[in-house]
Amino acid sequence: MEEYRQTIILGAVMAYMVMCIGVGIWAMRRTKSAGDFFVAGRGLGPIVVSLAVFSSTLSGFGFVGGPGLVYATGMSSMWMAICSALGYATGFYLVAKRIRMVAEVRDTMSMPDVVYARYGSQFARLLTAVTIILGVLGYLATQILAMALVLQSILSATAMFADISLLACVVVSSAVLIFYCVTGGIIASVYTDVVQGLMMIVAGALVVITAAHVFDGGFAEVSNILLKADGEDVMPFGTVGAMASLAWFFMFGLGLAGQPHVATKMMMNRKLSDNRLILPVAVFGYAIAAMLWVSVGIVMRALVLGDVAMPLSAPDEAAPVFLSTYAHPLLAGIVFAGLFAAIMSTADSFLNIGAAAIIHDIPKAVRGRSLDNELMWARIATIGISVLSAIIALGSDQLVALLGAFGWGTFAAALVPVVIIGLNWKGATARAACAAIIVSLAINFAVQIWGIKVPYGISSGFLAMLTSMIVFIGWSFLEKPKDLPRDIDRIMDL
């Protein structure tokens, strides 16, 4: 079977992509309005939503960039993953119920709609939409880069495509993504998420078993190799250190609920009471799938430091190289398809919220109403965002995970105070919301543009998020809050 390894892997990935295209065509028939395109008419069942929530959270950032970061820096980045239990708790305690209620009462389609409903400010809606576009471009670039890297690693192992370029891989993988997102909108997105989520759970579970058997002594031997070679890398804060790790825990743990691609899914469930099932399924699904993140990264690091394998040319190759070399061909096929699943499930969510921001939220904020023929413009915007993100992906020289962390930080810093705190505190004001978003964007982008190195590896996203939370609450304390609309006021009492 070994001689068919590449054929099996390629076959599994092709089958997966054909499935995505099929779902796109099927969903196109069910997508008749902008509401169907953006929020699936708020009629999804709990299992669909829970798998969509978790698969959107764990992306190419986690499945490709995560193992790469563990390979490069040891355990540091695991703080981004273990905070998921807190992240989902924050999302469901603070956001899920109220955002779903607001969606039903105000017929909202996006997070900027919710922000407008809460604060009554078109400027706050506009800033939220702009934040979403900026974050989407950075984050989607991560996904496209991850997809292309995985596809390149598969195709370059075949004789026919040995010299295939990264650009060609970006074009091929993006074409599939664009097709099903443009045709089927969020309906295609969430139903592919179901398959993708299940594949990620299976992939995570099978990979951790495989990783445990690479060395005869299992993970204990892996740990002993690393303890001997460095030691810090396999200890809880990795090579980057305690403050960087804990800053990531803060940003990812408290910031998950501010991710618009996750929070938007919380508007789509059929019944409020479904949240009772959605949270545990999402948490445990994520936990199993995320085992791939740590197990592949740490084993690849031990293989290289233990002189068993050659060093990787780039950390992001950790997952593809591990699967191509150490996994059973059938497992490698499933997991490679799972990698694509992880990447695409997040990318399609970004395309959806990005398109909503451009053709629904910004026009509403600027001229008080959305565009005519929203559905057509949504499809055009989806293509435009994809192309722009692909250009960013090709032009960036950053690791997949670091590009993703920037996108996550942009969302978390700008939207956590405005949405998480704002939906749970009547004293929050519109001016404070706008100030918090502006401050967070200024910090995040200043650090990025001027390449400022924050001491101790502390993430700029964390600094921006902490500052924006303080600005938001502090500014609100200084103002007398306006009376809330009656429906929002009643929702916030429940």
């Binding site: 273990i82 009462v105 002993n224 200890m235 305690a242 804990l246 101790y456 902490l466």
Partner: protein, 176 residues
Amino acid sequence: MKLIHVVFGLLLVVAGITGYVLLSVPPENAVGLAHPTIAGMRLGGDGLARLGSIGDAPFYFQIAVILLATFMLAMGVAPKRRTRGFWLFLAGGALIAFIVWASLYLGYKHYLLTGETGLFFGVPVPTAWMLGGVWGSFALFDIFYAVAFRRYFLHPDDERDFEALVAEMKAGGEAN
């Protein structure tokens, strides 16, 4: 004192500790060092030296974050539903998170001082506290959500009130 004041105070504590760390002089390899021969790989180096200029700031930082997270979670439950039982659970959850965090941090400090550590499930004990303990301590809050959903998070009375609101809106009742 309202919950929002506690949350604001804890954010200032987190900011204060972060400021203290940022103002300290970072040791030479504060974020590790590049591997001498393997491109893209970093090593941790002397972990004790890396903590030298900031002491136990990370320990107190995370305690503040655990408290902040707990009080923020409490904000998600309507004030009328925050019963004694609810606060008891939150206090218990936070206490477990503290114990896990203290075990992790003290185990790590012990390793830095002695160079010795045991293994648990194939990973060093402090790392096991991180992977299983930190995740697990917050997963308790997720389990609590599912178990006590109807009592605290979507009480049947609240659901009825919301349905009444939706009915009013559909019947043409003004919303704003």
